[in-house]
């Protein structure tokens, strides 16, 4: 439209008001749908979970759920299963995060040097990452099946006698299998992240260090690792958070058994809610986990920021 028309339609005052409003409102308008969605389906549930944990949730529709304060939390702290679940969760993280990081870094390092067919190996090692937890959980259940499992079969062949280890029926062997599954499935992810980091290393700094006469080890320590620090921290935080989310493998492989000895916090919480219908109690356990995870992550991110 021409200037004259435009000017005719808007006096100076009106123009100022309209342009002020539109320009101001637009960003709010455009993020509104996503924001509402998020608030409704993610933020509100976080809040409501805490809310439910302070009540005694009654399942019958229409009934009022009475406020019980910290009763659920106190019960949780006295519950021996919660202790076991907490222990398992912690052990899960300790047992699975370092191997994923180290092996992932090694694999990335090997791939970044010129090896024929690198793309194929990379894809192959990444395959477990994108496969469904359901599929691999059952797969590993079968591999470690006491009767027909390949593992027992291979061990039997190797050791020339019948090996019938009840992998998933015994607490610590079951945990071992669960951890092995986690590491096996996760190496590819940290490998890919480290690979990208290796490719983005400051080549100039490395070359100038080499020219200055630094040995390979020195170059690693003084140039490469410092620039990898943010990546390492990122991978670490993500893996720890992933570790707290462990659910499907345990749920499908051991159902938390035998006798609740392989429960992790989330599986126990789920069981309490959907098997025993103790929603409030389950909410309390989940809330404890949420606070712990959030706290840990914030801590780690702070550390990342300071070093960054």
């Amino acid at each position: 439209m021409a200037v004259e028309e435009f000017n005719m339609q808007h006096t100076t005052l009106y123009r100022k008001k309209v342009s002020l409003n539109m320009r101001h409102l637009f960003p709010y308008l455009i993020i509104l749908p996503g924001l509402i969605f998020y608030l409704l389906f993610t933020v509100y549930p976080i809040y409501s979970q805490f809310q439910i944990s302070f009540l005694h949730w009654v399942v019958t529709p229409g009934a009022v759920s009475p406020f019980v304060g910290l009763a659920n939390y106190i019960q949780a702290f006295h519950d021996p299963v919660v202790l076991v679940a907490a222990r398992n969760t912690a052990l899960y993280i300790i047992a699975t995060v370092p191997p994923q990081m180290i092996l992932g870094m090694i694999a990335a390092y090997l791939l970044v040097t010129k090896i024929p067919g690198a793309a194929i190996w990379r894809a192959a090692i990444f395959l477990p990452v994108i496969t469904s937890w359901v599929v691999v959980s059952y797969l590993f259940s079968y591999l470690f099946n006491s009767q027909e499992g390949l593992v027992n079969g291979a061990l039997s062949v190797l050791l020339h006698k019948d090996i019938v280890i009840p992998w998933l029926q015994d607490t610590w062997t079951a945990n071992g299998v669960i951890w092995l599954l986690a590491v096996w499935k996760g190496i590819g992810w940290s490998m890919v992240v480290f690979l990208a980091a290796f490719m983005n290393l400051p080549k100039d700094q490395i070359e100038s260090a080499r020219v200055d006469g630094a040995s390979s080890l020195r170059v690693w320590w003084h140039v490469i690792l410092p620039s990898l620090r943010p990546v390492i921290t990122f991978v670490f935080v993500m893996l720890v958070i992933g570790g707290t989310q462990a659910f499907i493998s345990i749920f499908l492989m051991t159902q938390g058994g035998p006798a609740n000895s392989t429960q992790v916090m989330l599986t126990y919480s789920y069981q309490q809610a959907f098997v025993f219908f103790n929603f409030s109690y389950a909410a309390a356990i989940a809330s404890i986990m949420a606070v712990l995870t959030f706290g840990l992550s914030v801590l780690f991110i702070r550390v990342l920021r300071e070093r960054g």
Binding site: L139, G153, A197, S269
Partner: protein
């Protein structure tokens, strides 16, 4: 003795010679290849085994010691898996839910990321961190309240309900990824468009989106993956067989057909195919997307 003599003497020693050999290029590469092949073998083997099992008829599987390569490979497991217990239905349900999630996530995250990227407004950083905060809260933690919320909305046992929850859980990551990409589009391009008379939304559609294709693809792939494999929410909320998604179908498979491992693995292979296909096709985009999104 002089320095030169000392060096010469050192060069003679066996230890040094071995060190030199190890540094030799050819052997070096062989060692690396070996280790990488080891990694690959370990990663692939279980799948290979699964594939092999899927081609073995029911009887053979229960043999001990177990067979690695089937003697008489048969596709009967696949046919049976597909035809029985509404497997096709589960497959279709997963497709519906996954595509719905991808579309919904793309729309909402593009709009929101665009708002964060191209406009300055009060509370922008606060709201952005609000989104980011959900990245550190594991999704599974929220099953209980989300279940109860869906119950209140009457969306339990509905694919719609699943899609809504899935979209919400993908928003934070997608917005984060897309925002940084949108911000990297030079402002002058946007100004040139303004001078050509394009509206605000027009700039989004005509400029930003075409340039962001690789990021959008990354978001789509991650989202599809996540929705396709999602188990916990689906398992918790879907009660009628006709609405089940694949992960649930697989889990219940064994319950209904105990010991039908061959069929189960055939079903698993079918269930995994779409993802593997998408992954292979998107190899290039994947790498780029991760390196952009991983570093702030």
């Amino acid at each position: 003795m002089s320095v030169l003599e000392a060096i010469a003497q050192q060069r003679q020693s066996a230890k040094y010679r071995i060190f030199q050999i190890i540094k030799n290029w050819k052997i070096d590469i062989s060692i690396r290849m070996l280790i990488i092949l080891l990694f690959m073998a370990i990663s692939i083997f279980p799948f290979f085994y699964m594939l092999s099992l899927s081609f073995q008829p029911v009887g053979d599987i229960l043999t001990f010691p177990p067979v690695l390569i089937p003697n008489k490979p048969t596709a009967v497991n696949y046919i049976q898996a597909w035809q029985e217990n509404d497997f096709a239905t589960y497959f279709i349900n997963s497709m519906i839910v996954s595509f719905g999630t991808v579309i919904g996530t793309l729309i909402f995250s593009v709009l929101t990321a665009y708002g964060f990227a191209r406009y300055k407004f009060r509370g922008r950083e606060f709201l952005f961190y609000l989104f980011l905060a959900s990245l550190v809260v594991p999704g599974i933690l929220l099953v209980i309240p989300q279940y109860l919320l869906m119950k209140d909305f009457g969306l339990l046992n509905s694919r719609r309900g699943l899609v809504l929850l899935y979209i919400s859980s993908n928003l934070a990551f997608s917005i984060f990824l897309l925002r940084s990409f949108f911000e990297s589009v030079p402002k002058e391009l946007e100004e040139a468009m303004r001078m050509d008379g394009v509206s605000e939304l027009g700039i989004l559609v005509r400029l930003i989106l075409p340039l962001s294709m690789s990021s959008l693809a990354t978001v789509a792939i991650f989202t599809f993956n996540g929705a396709w494999d999602e188990f916990v929410l689906a398992y918790t909320m879907i009660t009628s067989a006709g609405k089940r998604t694949l992960p649930m179908g697989l889990a219940l498979f064994l319950g209904e057909h105990t010991l039908a491992w061959g069929q189960f693995f055939a079903a698993s292979v079918i269930a995994t195919l779409p993802i593997v296909l998408v992954f292979i096709v998107s190899q290039k985009w994947f790498q780029q997307g991760i390196s952009i999104g991983a570093f702030k």
